[in-house]
Each structure stands twice: as C-alpha cells, then as structure tokens.
C-alpha cells in the first residue's frame, strides 16, 4: 500500500512538472467563458508565448482554487462573482478595493473588459403576457410558477436564497438543473422561469422576456481577467498584455460572439480568432482537429484514466477485502468507509483534491480510484465469507497455515465474486471517467460536455457512443477473463449421476 502511494505521488509530480512550462489559461463550462479563454490563449500564442487552454472546467470554485494553487495562470471571471461568491466580502464597493483584496492572495485583475454579464430572470413570452410579468416583484402573486435554476445559482450567495428573501417570493417549486438544459425545459414548458446571463445568445433566439430587477438585487457582473501576480516573472509585460482586452468588448459584441457559437455553430476558436483579427489585427493560428483525431485523443485520455485508476483500486481493494473478511467488525468499518466515499458527489471530491493534486489527470484518477473501491471490496468480502463451512473446515483440518489457505483455497474460490466486483467497478469507472472533463483530464466527457453546452447532439454522441462501446468491451473482456481464470471445476454445474 505504501509503495502504491509512493507511485501515485511520483506520478503526480511527473505530471505536474510536465505541465509546468506553458501558460495555463482556464475557462468555465459556458460558451462565453470558453470564447474569452480561447481569445486570451490565442493572443498569447501570437506573441510566441506557449499557452494551453484548459477549457470548460467544472465551476467557479474549482477554477479559483486552481488559480490560487498555481494550476492555472489566467482565467476570465466577473466582478460580482468574485466579490459575492469567491471572496464573500460584501463591504467591497470599488474596483480598487477588490484589486487590493485579490492582491493579498497573489492574484491580479485587469480593468473591466467592457460588458456586464449580470444574472437576469427570464420567462417565456407567452408566460409573461399571461401573468403580466414585467419585473421580478410581479412574481409575488404567482406562487404556482415553476422555477428552474442552475445548480450554481441555487446556492450562490447572490443566487436564489437571497433573491427570494430580497423580493419576498412565495414560490416553492424550484429545482436545480444545467443552464443549457434550462432553455430546453423552458421551451418544452416543464418550467416557467429560469436564471440566465444577460449576454446569453438564447435570449434573442427564444425571444425571452427579461424581468426587471426593480429592487436592485443583482450586483454588477463586469467581465475581468484574473491572473497570478507571479506570472510577471515569466511574462514581464503581462499587465499590458492582458490590459489590451480592457474596454474593448461591448455587451452587443459579446452577445454576437455567443450567438456565433451557440446559434451558428462556429467553433469558439474561430470566433475568438475573428475577434482578435478585428480588434488587435492579429492573425492567430487556429488548431482544428478532425473528428477522428479527436476520437483518438479522447479515447487515449479515457483509457488512461480508467486503466490506471482501476488497477490501483484492484491493488488496494482486494487486500482491504481480505482484511475485512478475516474480522467481521473491521469488515463493517471498511465497507462503511468506502461506502461513504461513494456518496461524495464527484464535483465536490474534485474540488477537495485541487489543493493536493491540482487539476488535470491526477485528481480525476484519484476520484475514479476512490469510486472504484466499493464493488471490489464488497465482493472480495462476500466471496471469501461465502465459502461453505465444510470447505473451510477441510482446509483447516488439513493443517494448512492461513497464508496457504488464502492462496490455495480461499482466493481461488472467491475468484468469481471478486472478478464480478472488478467488472462492476470497471463498467462504472468507464461511465464516471466522463467527469474527468470537468477538471481538465479530457476523455469522452469532453465532447459530451461541449455537446450539451452547444446543444450539438452529434458531439454528445461522439463521447457517449465510444463510452458505451468501451463499457460493453470491458464487460465482454471480463466475461472472457472469467472463463480463463476460473477453475474449470467451478464452471461445471453439479452432475446428478451417481
């Protein structure tokens, strides 16, 4: 177990030192953030600075932690989010105060990029007409309305709870869902009202009515770029460099860029390139990849995650299971511990691990490793404890020592159960590994995530079909392994002849 931990640490160090060279730009998993991240990255590259774009990462907290830990160097965010969500310092009133607060944490901030992407509350035009809704205050009399908010909005400091208190809203039918799916829900009529970003392309597309924030609940969400103060050591003119973006993107322009991606289906890289060309007269290279190369890349990333995390889980879970089978109360402790791990939501687990492991492959590997333990441990314990009493007595009566009983009798008899546990873990692992995309580890989750964001079914399938195929392949592989590894004596059904 010790040497396994050592190997993992070594792996983490190797991976992080490999990534130490280029400037790492991050973006959140919505289109606007990806476009901005892409523009920053291309701009750096046009100046011959090696840069990589870790796009569509899991959430504000994850990006912020990664920035503070040095796993990211730059990412775009919004003043309202920084004040209310990240710093939670309600007393900050000016840009200077904000800059000062960030400075103490080693983070710098550019001037406003030019647009305000505040939260807004949108309803379908027919709903607005039906209930005569013009402002958020108008919602008070209609407690039957069904709200669908992004999960982030549901528990943000400036999100639903404080909006409800501020406006004294009576609605109780409120659920959390993905932002891109919220538009679909609104269109289908399964929800009446959603939160949205004021620069969303869909507002015009669905002709949504925006309710006026008449009691001024939402703060300003002016776009800025956050970057590490120590980046200046690597790029001396970084302040001026990122400063170029200040004041050049208007709200109309941002909506146009968002529409170009979401409604016209242009790649973010292309939209970012057009923007750079127009404003800075920079012609940057856009690396477009074919579906096949993308598939090969995501397959490699996915296999890397699955194989490494599953192998580590097997090496740890089987000894844990053997240990647990020897002592029933210890077995209970082990099972409940790995069971509790299973209940930790994946994004939460990833956020916990950023301070230890940063972003990218390592935290995804550790999360997958932890999620793979339960089925293997449980089946090892049940396989060993399920050996009939007469077999155990026979093995004891022969005078075999415990280690020989384990090797010659108990493990071979538990093989079927243990293999079944590994198979379950492997199949779940293939599916769960798609969460790797949330933390920049790639894999089949990448096209799925992008596909959901862009409402591009072909792209979703580009991740979902290979993931399903891999799961089937794994299942088939283990069935084959069972036939080879399992003693023929256990594959025969009892004959009734005498």
């Amino acid at each position: 177990m010790k040497y396994l931990f050592f190997l993992l640490t070594l792996l983490v160090i190797t991976l992080s030192s490999l990534q130490a060279q280029p400037v790492k730009v991050g973006s959140k998993k919505f289109t606007e953030s990806v476009i901005l991240g892409e523009a920053i990255t291309q701009n750096l590259r046009s100046d011959d600075i090696s840069a990589i774009h870790k796009d569509q990462l899991g959430g504000t907290r994850l990006l912020w932690n990664a920035l503070v830990q040095g796993e990211l160097d730059i990412y775009p965010d919004y003043t309202g989010t920084i004040i209310h969500e990240i710093l939670q310092e309600e007393t900050i009133n000016s840009t200077d105060e904000l800059r000062q607060a960030l400075g103490t944490m080693g983070i710098k901030m550019t001037a406003h990029l030019g647009f305000n992407n505040t939260y807004a509350i949108g309803v379908a035009p027919e709903t607005a007409r039906k209930y005569n809704l013009k402002s958020i205050s108008d919602l008070r009399g209609h407690d039957q309305l069904r709200f669908g908010f992004t999960n982030e909005f549901m528990d943000r400091e400036d999100g639903w709870p404080s909006l409800r208190d501020h406006y004294q809203l009576p609605q109780s039918n409120v659920r959390g869902l993905d932002h891109d799916l919220a538009y679909k829900g609104l269109e289908a009529g399964s929800i009446d009202l959603i939160d949205l970003y004021s620069t969303d392309a869909e507002i015009a597309y669905y002709q949504l009515a925006i309710l006026k924030d008449d009691l001024q609940h939402f703060p300003d969400y002016r776009a800025v770029i956050l970057y590490r103060a120590d980046l200046v050591e690597r790029i001396p003119n970084i302040d001026e460099f990122l400063g170029q973006f200040s004041g050049v993107i208007s709200e109309t322009q941002m909506i146009q860029m968002n529409s170009a991606v979401k409604l016209n289906g242009l790649p973010e890289a292309q939209v970012a390139q057009d923007f750079l060309q127009k404003h800075f007269n920079i012609s940057s290279r856009v690396e477009t990849s074919s579906r096949l190369t993308r598939l090969i890349d995501t397959t490699q990333e996915h296999l890397f995650l699955v194989i490494l995390s599953l192998s580590a889980a097997i090496l740890v879970a089987i000894p844990l299971g053997i240990w647990g089978a020897r002592n029933a109360s210890l077995g209970q402790v082990i099972l409940s511990t790995v069971g509790v791990i299973q209940t930790i939501p994946s994004l939460a687990l990833l956020v916990f691990m950023i301070p230890l492991l940063g972003i990218g492959g390592p935290p995804a590997l550790v999360a997958l490793f932890l999620y793979s333990l339960l089925p293997i441990v449980r089946n090892t314990i049940s396989g060993l404890t399920g050996i009939p009493l007469d077999i155990r007595e026979s093995a004891l009566a022969l005078g075999l020592p415990a280690s020989a009983r384990l090797k010659l009798i108990e493990l071979p008899l538990a093989t079927q159960s243990i293999l079944a546990g590994i198979k379950t873990s492997a199949v779940i692992n293939v599916g769960t590994a798609t969460l790797g995309a949330l933390i920049g580890a790639g894999g089949y989750g990448q096209p799925i995530l992008t596909g959901i964001r862009l409402d591009d079914t072909a792209l979703i399938l580009e991740g979902a079909i290979p993931a399903a195929a891999l799961a089937l392949l794994v299942q088939w592989g283990f069935d084959l392994a069972e036939r080879t590894l399992l003693s023929p004596g256990l594959q025969i059904t009892q004959e009734s002849s005498s």
Binding site: I409, L413, G489, E495
Partner: protein, 250 residues
C-alpha cells in the same frame, strides 16, 4: 493417543459438553453415537482443534493441543466430513495431494501414493482427474477418505462419513471402510447416529446424550449391561424398523 480431560464447551451461554473425560485407545475404531444435539460432532471438532474447549484439555500423541501446535498436529491426522468437504476448484487428485505438494513431497512419491490409495478405496486412477462436481456421492466420500489417508496419519477422524449417501452406496463404502481400517490399523474416531454403522465398524462405542457420555464399551457389553435405560432404548429404537419389515415379509 487421544485423551480428553474434563472438557466443557459453551455455545452462546449453553453448556453443550459437560465435564467430559475420555481416553481413546490406539489402533481401535471408536464410534461416537447418540441422538442429534448430543454433542458428538462438537466433541470431534474439539479433538482436532476446529473448536476450543472452555475448560479442560485435550492431548493428541501425548501432546496437549494448543493454538500454537494445532496446525502441526492436524497435519498428522486425517479428517473426513459428511459431505466430503472437497475443494471444488481442484480435481480429485489435486484435492488428495494438496497437502503433500504443500509439504514438498516428490511428485513420484505422490503419484505412487495415489495409485496405492486408489487400490485401497476401489476407485480407478482416471476418476481422480475429475472435479468434485463430476463425482457421485460415494466417489466424493472415497476421495475424501483418500485425502485424509494421503500422508498416512496415525489417527483418522470421520464425521458422519456415510450420512449423505443412499443406502446402496452406503453399504458398499461401509464394507470397504471396515476392510481399510482393519488393514491399516489406524486409530479411528467416527461420529454417526446410525447404530448399524456403529455395530459394523466400531470396536468401542461411546454412547452420548445431552453433552455427557452415558456409557463407553463394546456393543455386546452395551447390550448386556446398559448403564442407563436410554442406552437400551437407543439400541432398540434403531432395530425396530427392521423388525417391522421382517414381520411384514414373513
């Protein structure tokens, strides 16, 4: 060779063996018999260290059985269970030779011994390449007996070895076992609830009831001088069905 000295065994607060002492003479077949729950199987497991007494001591080969020496002492005895207790993932031959291989006996020695044992138990060598699930009940018990005899132990413990067999196979194996015990001159301790088996195989019969030994003697002495009415009752009870049958046939 086997000595039990003031043994008590408690399960979940109930004493199932009460202050029991017994000497088992060398090279005799001793049958532990009694109704279900009399403690006969528990007593057998205590003798081999599969269970441990709460009071008293047990010695094998004039050595007190302890948790430290149990493994080594078990290697010097043979044990056969009611259902054979064969390892289903190993062939019959692998089952029989498992311990010999573990103790690094030469392969020629093992093969020679398998052939000897086949002859002794009237099984053909080719049957030993089958897995337990491919064997009949009688074959399983013969293989289990071979496994117990493989290292030529001085003591053989058998827990209802014929209990799971149909009457036809039962008689055949019972006769073979009788011949084997006579020929090898082992000390045998066998548990059964069948008086016929006890009569046929046992040199000495230990009649048990409720965790006590009622009487401990040859069958003829048990019949002639019962220490307790139950002894006569138990012996006669098992004869009765036969009497009825004989009456009907006549």
């Amino acid at each position: 060779m086997i000595k039990l000295d003031h043994i008590r065994k408690i399960f979940d607060g109930n004493e199932v063996i009460h202050d029991l002492s017994l000497d088992i003479p060398d090279q005799k077949t001793v049958v532990l018999i009694g109704p279900s729950g009399c403690g006969k199987s528990t007593l057998l497991r205590l003798m081999i260290g599969l269970l441990w007494p709460d009071k008293g001591s047990i010695s094998l080969f004039r050595k007190t059985l302890t948790r430290e020496n149990a493994e080594l002492l078990r290697q010097q005895v043979g044990f056969v269970l009611q259902d054979g207790g064969l390892f289903p993932h190993l062939t019959a031959a692998q089952n029989i030779s498992l311990m010999a291989k573990y103790l690094n006996r030469p392969i020629e020695w093992i093969e020679g011994r398998l052939i000897e044992l086949c002859e002794l138990t009237h099984l053909s060598r080719s049957i030993l390449d089958r897995y337990p699930r491919q064997l009949s009940g009688g074959q399983v018990q013969r293989v289990a007996l071979m496994r117990a005899l493989m290292l030529d132990p001085e003591i053989l413990f058998l827990d209802e070895p014929l209990g799971a067999l149909d009457p036809l196979h039962r008689v055949g194996l019972q006769e073979d076992m009788k011949a084997i015990f006579n020929r090898l001159g082992k000390t045998v301790v066998m548990v059964t609830h069948d008086m016929g088996e006890a009569a046929s195989l046992g040199d000495l019969i230990v009649m048990m009831r409720g965790g006590h030994i009622l009487q401990h003697d040859t069958l003829s002495n048990l019949s002639a001088n019962p220490s307790d009415p139950f002894v006569t009752e138990f012996i006669n009870a098992q004869r009765k069905p036969w009497r009825h049958l004989e009456d009907q046939i006549q």
